[in-house]
Subunit: 342 residues, 4 copies
């Protein structure tokens, strides 16, 4: 059985393990003061074109989200998210557990628009009987594979600026977003158009690790305290620093994401050629093709993937995910299996 | 400069890195459902002599403490700790941040005794105007290097049973405790005498990782939810499982801790032979010798360690820590430098 | 201007003030240990037919909700509510501020049904990536004036029992519910069909005050601690005890509610006779007639009420509330004004 | 039996009840928008000499403390208090329940000094492994009857200003403090020397009610949200407004406190004349005389008071509290009983 269930089925890119082995016995300061973490933060600030940014490394996405959000909101403030947003759908109430409501919006493609935010502000106007919306959470790429265009992100940013809202981008799959065929955003754009974001490592070649970036460093002035308080400050911070050093050396991060996208597009093309459609646009490394149940049943004999949603008596949408580690030969065999079905 | 500042200055034991490399591209389920984690949990239950125990892997100690404690206490309940306890002294209010008071006790050697607990219960008797003490937090070895004897732990356990208190042991350095010369506890004893404990990997050979053990599995029945909610459930749980598999294969964990203790005792012997005393008994891999400031000044030219506490105009206590990675030749040179001083 | 905006525009029923004056200088124990509170609790247990119930007095509804819910849920557990439920719509995220998600359900009449709960359990099945639904919150009467029948409540209760869910009834307007024409529930039924409820005083004759009742006293065993911790334990608890003593003497509580309902029904009848409809069924003391904007405009010259929701270009729904203190002559004048409009 | 156990054994000053009766059926806006609350806030700002201050009414002291503190601290920040401070000793962990550590200081007379704060800052310097001290909590009068002088308060204020600390005064017994014989502070001084304070009504003539004052209104800009979120916004806010209107009309508030103090001083004088000493200086309406157990035993036959602390085999300190409602004739009888003892 080969798994297309997610992009964290394998370990790390070999370069990372190699570097861990090479540096293993060099003594380093603890708690992120090691030289690798320091160098990795510098490198990221350069790539973002923002030398003043404040960068912190965190083990995982849920942890990043809950620490960023709880460090920025006051007790009566709330964060707005698409209903499909990871903080609402798959983080076991992590944000509420820090005391804040996640205000949700139904969306078509998992993306928030300025009009959605306007509606939320109207619905939450009956002060003081309602929470105060203060932050906007978006994912890029989204949990259903779509991405934000520069125009869309700029519109959101403008609305946020005009309405005293902070804009936070969850970039668990930022690599896949920025290397998608239809993407027109750069890392520098992200640095300029969001207040805070995180650049995800776990789903793109790292063992663990996300880089939280405060593009406005004032917002992160006391973040080190919160990092420690929530249990996220690793004694051996070198583990995170080394990974980001390797991922951003020679833009390996983008090379890996591009490969994942390319393999996904190969599958998407085959799906389309067979006349099947998609639940959400096939854009990055997460695909949601709507397939006949008979095909799903056949594919399931050799491949693992999620059955996402029943469509009708004979069709379901499935979720297929590729990654930096996906083998092209397996993708080709998978495509062949799709084509053989009739 | 060579560092005796802590036991997390290096990476992981080479066996661990080797195993990570070997298994790197094997596809595994995420979120701790991988075969390594499953096998490591089984192995730990065997070692603890408690097949019914519930085991969970977590990245670090602060995270383990806050998740265990917040998952077991109701909103009005509190945990009792020595004032030197890590949850009170060095975790940025992590426990209070989950809503619970840490009730502190002044102690001589960082260890709680039944008499201390009795005093706390008396001081917190004015229901409902005070919190309800419900859990006892102890560290073994303690933050100042001392360890619990079987008699001491048994007395605590009996008091807890008689007073509806849960007993939780922070084993960040459990390896060093259980391999200290004066120790008479076994891992099985810990399993029988505590309700919950964690077995620390980070400070004894792992890159990251602690194993939380609910010796009473009922207490951990819903722990998976809380693990996820607090951001501690790693997508690539294999990273934790593989490390514990290696650490407990052929009892490497205890071999490493024994080495750290042995090197510490070598230093302690030299310190004593020079006529110096200790702030706390020299028992495990953390030493707190009281040295002349002139000697401290000389040693500081080549070695890093913490100046812990000023004693008088001419003496200070310092903290010297050894680990599995400490080089014996450096220890010998350090001892020679102590002996040369007059 | 006369206000139909809410049922808390006036002070307390005169009997209450009289009793406060009479008992004012009698020395009493503090913190709810006074003889009036003790007697009032006994009286309520009798009325509920449950001598084992645990009763506590609290100043207001939001406070009651947040203390009850936060005292009963573990950190990873959530409460289910209709989207119109007060805890979701008008309490400034009070429940989330204690760390718990409010899972919402869209409903037609503000009431939850077993089928809704079943859907929620299905949607929240992906353990441990989602919160665990553990409590069901219902209001009776609801925030939009409707009430639960005995059959409906029994069905909910059965579903809860079968699915390990606690059933909590917010009775801010329980008096109005139990005295509505179409009601078939008694206070004893409420005591048997819910795990916890509160009987609201503020909106039915008290200055402040709600009586929280744990029909299963085990659930309230430590409630006194939480009451104090959340700032709800009044030093002069007599203020609450005296009010409930008066409200339940000779069933004044139900007499007052019945009057409010009767006046509302009088208005409802006139509204219907004029051919207007209602947004939600006219059942108790909260009415939501859909009126021509021209009529609304005229009525607004002499009466205050909320414009609730725009219906079309020419009609809006308004909210009209009557209470124990509403003057029947004003109601008659209001009805006359409705009838005169054409 | 007559009780000297506390200053909340009776109801309210009769003027308050009278006014409640007079205004009872006047319709008013809810949630503190009533005309009495508006007028009472204006009156208080005048008395404080700070027209820009932001004033809010809250039912009780624990509630005031937890809402003020949780609204002003970020998640990693802590509040400093004397160990005898009410927030640490008698509020069931209310502050920790909102996520913040209470850093305690041992004091002689329940009062904090700048030197204490300096020590705390030194002890909490190991960023980011410790919480960040951000607020100083003081009570005036203190929980053991002592009061702050203008010089002491000014010194604290200066230290706070120089060290980015907020100064918050719990004035549960502010009336008793400001009317004590040795007092040299005015309400205007309090307004200028603290960032936030509350003026306590419950222990000085009100049924319930404390007035929270943000002397720096910026700090209270969003306080209304938090008030509602924590369940403190009364639907019938008139209950609080009317009480403060009456209490500050013709300075009744100070007249009542002065009477309580005068009666306490009468007792204190008799105690001294008999040669007994005090645990803490006899300054305001809380006395802690150290009496022979034989005398305590005799007095206990007719009077209620707390046995506070055992002193030696034959003596204990007791707590005697007088209030606005204490009868002078009873005080005289009590004094006579003290004098008769030999």
């Amino acid at each position: 059985m080969y798994s297309f269930r997610n992009d964290y089925s394998e370990g790390a890119h070999p370069n990372i393990l190699q570097r861990l082995v090479e540096t293993n016995l060099v003594q380093q300061s603890g708690y992120g003061e090691d030289e690798y973490s320091v160098a990795a933060k510098e490198m990221l600030k350069q790539k973002l074109g923002n030398p003043a940014a404040a960068v912190f490394f965190i083990s995982g996405g849920t942890q990043s989200n809950l620490i960023v959000i709880s460090s920025l909101l006051k007790v009566h403030e709330a964060v707005i998210s698409a209903k499909t947003g990871h903080i609402f759908s798959h983080e076991t109430g992590a944000i509420e557990a820090t005391g804040h409501r996640v205000i949700t919006v139904d969306t078509k493609e998992g993306k928030l628009q300025a009009a959605d935010l306007k509606d939320v502000l109207a619905a939450y106007s009956m002060r003081p009987h309602v929470v105060k919306p203060r932050m906007v959470y978006i994912s890029n790429s989204t949990e259903i594979g779509t991405i934000y265009s520069k125009a869309e992100l700029t519109e959101l940013r403008d609305f946020c600026l005009a309405n005293n809202l902070l804009l936070y981008m969850d970039g668990a799959r930022m690599g896949h977003a920025l290397t998608a065929d239809s993407n027109d955003l750069t890392l520098t754009d992200i640095g300029q158009l969001t207040d805070v974001c995180y650049i995800g490592g776990t789903k793109n070649g790292a063992l663990i690790g996300e880089a939280v970036v405060f593009n406005n460093p004032q917002l992160g002035a006391d973040f080190d305290y919160v990092l420690k308080q929530k249990g996220a400050l690793l004694a051996k911070g070198r583990l995170l620093g080394i990974q980001f050093l390797e991922l951003f050396k020679d833009d390996l991060y983008f090379t890996l994401a591009r490969k994942a996208n390319m393999l996904a597009m190969k599958i998407a093309k085959a799906v389309q050629e067979q006349g099947y459609t998609f639940l959400t646009p096939a854009t990055s490394n997460q695909l949601f093709p709507i397939l006949p149940k008979t095909l799903i049943s056949e594919l399931s004999k050799e491949y693992q993937f999620y059955e996402w949603e029943a469509i009708d008596a004979e069709h379901s949408a499935v979720r297929i995910i590729t990654s930096w580690a996906t083998e092209e030969s397996v993708v080709d065999a998978f495509i062949a299996a799709i084509r053989q079905h009739k």
